[in-house]
């Protein structure tokens, strides 16, 4: 009992933390600002959410910084002003993403039914209600597109990362820049490149394989950069231990470094897939799109989720736009799944 008392007396105090009184005052100012904003919007000609938001921000900022000014002077008032502005900026960042997720879910869920994932659109017209037909062909198509792009880009991406971290040759700096430049290549340019290099001179028809080639171009930089970061985290001790045991560099990398970075490399691959899963422009140029199942990646147009969404959106009837929202919902769920998988793997300790 006495020890408790002693502890209490020597417990650290945190004078910089907001006290209860401060918090209450902030809450009160917030409510007061809301009240004034509502009043102003009602009295004056201002109207709508935008007017309300602007008035609220102005009133809140003036109130808080005025209070700070009275308490501590102008430096503190400026600090409060910036504090409020920074919070507003963050809020502005969050609005669109909140709106996007909300709209996709609320507009897309109506079209979800069991047959959606097993049937295609070959017997439907854009005017059919959402519970007829489906996007099974699109999901299969996207899976095939992504799988081929994966097979091409993962080895190249990881080899690039290995060059940057293990060999560290004289080209390291230029290659790092080129990878960066490659990640900035617009997707339509990647599509045009495959179009001019392969589709027009050689195959002369749309196919999923060509689409995958262009997706691979977009995926390589993501895989390479994330893998490089992961491989840089592998402690040098592991490499030195491998060499000290008489391993050649090849054995050290293949049996020690890469296995140690396994989960991180997987994260890199997943982030790459997330990058290309919804890519639309090159698909429109190269893979075309059909409304029936096509399992042959080397001939004929193949449907995919982005194409399905695009096509439904372009058809313009209310039913088909509803179908586009459903397609977006499916795409969003796929992305969320990929993303949380990447997070989960990325949070595990590297080197396990």
């Amino acid at each position: 009992m006495t020890t408790n008392k002693i502890y209490e007396s020597i417990l650290p105090t945190r004078p910089w933390q907001a006290s209860m009184k401060d918090r209450l005052t902030t809450g009160f100012v917030l409510v007061f600002a809301l009240f004034i904003a509502t009043l102003l919007v009602k009295i004056t000609g201002l109207s709508g959410k935008l007017g309300f938001f602007v008035v609220f921000v102005i009133v809140f900022v003036t109130l808080t910084s005025g209070r700070e000014y009275r308490r501590f002077g102008s430096a503190s008032a400026k600090d409060a002003l910036v504090n409020a502005l920074v919070a507003v900026g963050t809020f502005l960042t969050l609005i669109p993403i909140g709106s996007i997720i909300f709209e996709v879910i609320s507009k897309g869920y109506k079209g979800i039914y069991l047959g959606l994932f097993t049937s295609d659109m070959s017997l439907n017209s854009p005017n059919d209600p959402a519970n007829v037909g489906g996007l099974g062909h699109a999901i299969i198509g996207t899976l095939i597109l992504v799988a081929i792009a994966l097979v091409i880009s993962v080895p190249i991406g990881i080899l690039t990362a290995l060059y940057l971290t293990e060999i560290k040759g004289k080209f390291s700096q230029p290659i790092r820049f080129l990878v960066q430049a490659m990640s900035g290549v617009p997707s339509i340019v990647a599509g045009l490149f495959i179009l001019s290099a392969i589709l027009y001179p050689i195959t002369k028809q749309n196919s999923a394989f060509l689409g995958s080639l262009s997706l691979a171009i977009l995926m390589i930089p993501t895989v390479a950069r994330t893998s490089e970061e992961v491989l840089n985290l592998i402690p040098n001790d592991l490499r030195e231990a491998g060499v000290a045991l008489g391993g050649t560099q090849w054995r050290t990398v293949a049996m020690i470094v890469v296995p140690a970075a396994k989960s991180g490399l997987l994260t890199a691959v997943i982030l790459g897939v997330a990058r290309i899963a919804g890519e639309t422009a090159p698909i429109l140029l190269l893979a075309g799109g059909g409304d029936r199942f096509n399992l042959d990646p080397f001939s004929g147009p193949m449907g995919s989720l982005p194409y399905f969404i695009w096509n439904s959106f372009k058809s313009g009837t209310p039913e088909s736009i509803a179908r586009a929202w459903t397609g977006l919902l499916v795409l969003l769920v796929v992305l969320l799944f990929l993303f949380s998988a990447a997070r989960f793997l990325g949070n595990r300790k590297v080197g396990k």
């Binding site: 400026k78 910036v82 502005l85 960042t93 960066q180 490149f193 001019s196 919804g278």
Partner: protein, 329 residues
């Protein structure tokens, strides 16, 4: 008896060498080839687009980027009699929209990055970083459709407000009262798309601000804003500019999202609220469907121009971000 004459074999002297083994040579060769792939791919892109678009660029010369036309005349047999390609309206539209987008996005992104680095409690910071990373991974078709259906009505309303109060500035003029599909709305959606990119780069750079100076500023009694002004902003300025350039590059190459909202017309338009705009990437997508083999060459040349433009912007941003270094004045 003669066991003493046993066979002592003196082992050969071990060769100590730093010469790589055969397996290592193969390994190094393979990895180096893989590493050079980005160079090869970029070179191939440039080469093939140039090869396919060369005729057009040669015949049009410098007019290809200074005039604004897109006409082809065919005779009855479908042969091309004359053609006239010029990208200036599209190029100006692309640059206008992306600069405007960066202008909108940078203050918001910097505010968000400052909030996340210096103000937010830990749990808010963690969630927000995840959300912003997720937003960076959203496909452009999602942004495009959302922008067309949800953002467009609000954007038109805001544009009318700006036009009503600031219409006397030539930039915001709109005599025809046509607000749909204006460069302003395209810039809004581009800004939303590049905010995550600029935010995450700024955040990374702000978090590298030298801790000793931060503590020194606090010890001298600085408020949080005074500390940021004295330490963080001088340290991070170049990096933020580099991030903005990176966002600019992304905005220039964006196709689908701009295509859905922007009204593409072959006319140079500086009035950002007026519903007429241009965009190189969207032009390619628009014209591609019904283009003849000859017109495709023109599109390839347009793609080449876009490619070179984004490459230059990316190079500049790379230089700025790298030069940022650790100097805080």
């Amino acid at each position: 008896m003669s066991t003493t004459e046993s066979t002592y074999v003196i082992p050969e002297k071990r060769v100590v060498t730093t010469k790589p083994r055969f397996s290592d040579k193969v390994f190094r060769a393979v990895v180096t080839t893989g590493g050079l792939s980005s160079l090869i791919v970029l070179g191939l892109i440039f080469g093939f687009l140039l090869y396919q678009g060369f005729d057009i660029i040669k015949s049009q010369g410098f007019d290809f980027i200074t005039t604004s036309r897109w006409d082809i005349t065919y005779d009855e047999a479908g042969n091309v009699i004359s053609s006239d390609f010029g990208l200036s309206a599209m190029l100006i539209g692309t640059i206008l929209c992306s600069f405007l987008a960066v202008l909108i996005a940078v203050p918001v992104s910097v505010a968000t990055a400052l909030y996340l680095t210096f103000y937010a409690p830990h749990w808010i910071k963690k969630t927000m970083v995840t959300i912003i990373d997720l937003m960076a991974a959203f496909p452009s078709i999602l942004f495009g459709i959302w922008a067309y259906i949800i953002l467009m009505p609000s954007g038109v309303y805001w544009a009318k407000l700006i036009n009503h109060y600031l219409g006397f500035i030539p930039f915001f003029e709109n005599k025809d009262r046509y607000f749909q599909g204006s460069p302003f709305i395209a810039s809004l959606i581009l800004a939303i798309m590049i905010i995550p990119i600029i935010t995450s780069i700024s955040r990374e750079i702000f978090s590298q601000a030298p801790l000793d100076r931060i503590q020194a500023a606090y010890a001298l009694g600085a408020t949080r804003w005074a500390m940021i002004k004295a330490v963080v902003i001088p340290h991070g300025r170049n990096g933020v500019i580099g991030g903005a350039m990176l966002g600019l590059g992304r905005a220039m190459g964006e196709t689908v999202a701009v295509y859905t909202v922007l009204n593409i017309v072959f006319a140079i338009n500086w009035k950002i609220l007026f519903g007429v705009g241009g965009n190189v990437a969207s032009l390619i997508l628009t014209k591609f469907g019904e283009a003849s083999a000859y017109e495709i060459k023109g599109l390839m040349a347009a793609g080449l121009v876009l490619f070179v433009l984004t490459l230059i912007v990316n190079f500049a941003s790379d230089q700025l971000i790298r030069r940022m270094g650790g100097s805080g004045k």
